[in-house]
Symmetry: C2
Subunit: 339 residues, 2 copies
Amino acid sequence: MTERQKVLLTEVALRDGSHALSHQYTVQQVEKIAKGLNEAKVPYIEVAHGDGLAGSSLQYGRSKTNEFELIEAAVAVTDFSKVAVLLIPGIGTVKELKQAQQLGAKMARIATHVTEADVSAQHIYAAKELGMETVGFLMMSHMAEPEKIVEQAKLMESYGADIVYVVDSAGALLPNQVTTRIKAMKETIGVEIGFHAHNNLSLAMANTLAAIEAGATRIDGSVRCLGAGAGNTQTEVLVGVLDRMGIETGVDFYKMMDLAENVVAPILPVPQEITKNSLVLGYAGVYSSFALHAQRAAEKFNLDARDILIELGNRKVVGGQEDMIVDVAAELAKVKTFV
Amino acid sequence: MTERQKVLLTEVALRDGSHALSHQYTVQQVEKIAKGLNEAKVPYIEVAHGDGLAGSSLQYGRSKTNEFELIEAAVAVTDFSKVAVLLIPGIGTVKELKQAQQLGAKMARIATHVTEADVSAQHIYAAKELGMETVGFLMMSHMAEPEKIVEQAKLMESYGADIVYVVDSAGALLPNQVTTRIKAMKETIGVEIGFHAHNNLSLAMANTLAAIEAGATRIDGSVRCLGAGAGNTQTEVLVGVLDRMGIETGVDFYKMMDLAENVVAPILPVPQEITKNSLVLGYAGVYSSFALHAQRAAEKFNLDARDILIELGNRKVVGGQEDMIVDVAAELAKVKTFV
């Protein structure tokens, strides 16, 4: 008899999911959810502002509760699950990472744009130095071809990352694109591979299964789908599906369902659906922060904001290039005049 | 240059979706939705009670509006889209089919349990006689192996069906199970193949793509996911995904998004999520009508209703065998006593 295939899940409802609650988690809510996840034997629970440590700001949205209080609360109620934190260099620093580690966080996930792994070097070194299990988190992975992703993953591996994730931040990847990316990594890097999906194109589960089939062994999920955009792969559903496929997660299916229904659903202000906004972002493959800029430019130039977003996606415009949004709108308006 | 692959969509929000509104559609709502679908160039729009023609009853839920008024309303506002009706022999009869055809319905979908295609014979003959495009609709297709499905599809083909659908009524199929079923049909039957998904395991989109890859050319979707259980494949998302994959639907992506957001979402009493109930039904692979019976039996025998539903699924209990639910519960309670 061959051993059953295994994957290790990381629950992100208390980090990515904080977007769905406009970062309004209370200590009591985090305690309750982390306790439930611990009882269900979820291996990792990520806790931080939606944009990572130190994300609480006017720009990214202010947290109701200091994230270190939330981390502390999660650590206090978990004896099985390990608490993870996300750090985006430029938003958070090594200082916050140290603080999280001192409070009991055991895993550091260092996140960069898919082509900018080099900025993660000092943070990965620091996390390893602190004795944390360390993940390199390649965001917006739909914007780079497999060869580029391999190159960037190798950098993170060389800095000491124990795991490298392909992160579909915009929920824009198609299953075959997930397969080619994970396969290319599997063939060339020695560390474990992870996958983080978003459901903007209703493909979170499909992409997650494609990633596992191609060799990913670390998978992110969010209970009741709590996450940015249309949310992530729904954890309690994933546990059931993997069980049906004979893949082991070690997570208690019934306890996850009960947690989703009785604890998480009641605190969600609005259920996670695939709305027009999240669908357009996934289809265009752009940052969610572009939506508002595009809407303003659309009004100025009498355009459909969707045309602007899709054109920005075609041109692979990245965060920090928001100035281009108005330029693109102006160009589209010009073309429209001549049609 | 090779011709682009094409699929023809059938929108089921005005039939399967009626479950999500407890069959409370008004003429005005149907007019508005059908008009939007027609403008977006959706090829087929199914209109009927959620359980098909004549489904309005104490047992299946009473419709607010007579379904023939809804069919008439949809026909009146469509000059591109064709109106389809669903008929489950035993619930509806040839009489209702004739009436629908006289009101302008152009497609008849005759639905049976996956192992009972023989009961569709007279209804398929009648539909063809009436000059309707005719679909054989094999429900609960997860309960039969590919060879059995092929046998049943061949029967429907022999009666005159133009298309045969694999229908994942319980949202229980995994992508590889969809692939084997559709491939087996593709190799043996001459008519077009269709696929109808439910999203109980968050696999509606994954399964739909697997079906298309295996050769299905007719696909069901429901705008904003409106449908029984966790709903169907979300049509406006599917249009975007297929476009990204280079597969043609002929449907206007923007118009579908606007219809979903501006017309359909506001009339939904509760957004379509994957709740504990729909997840359990998909995982167990049982009829949604079993849920209430299982709940009652669970209370009587002090069990978890989920254990009963999963055991019913293992035993492949079908509709009409509701008596077995109490027997199964009694057995489980006995086993529990001895543990």
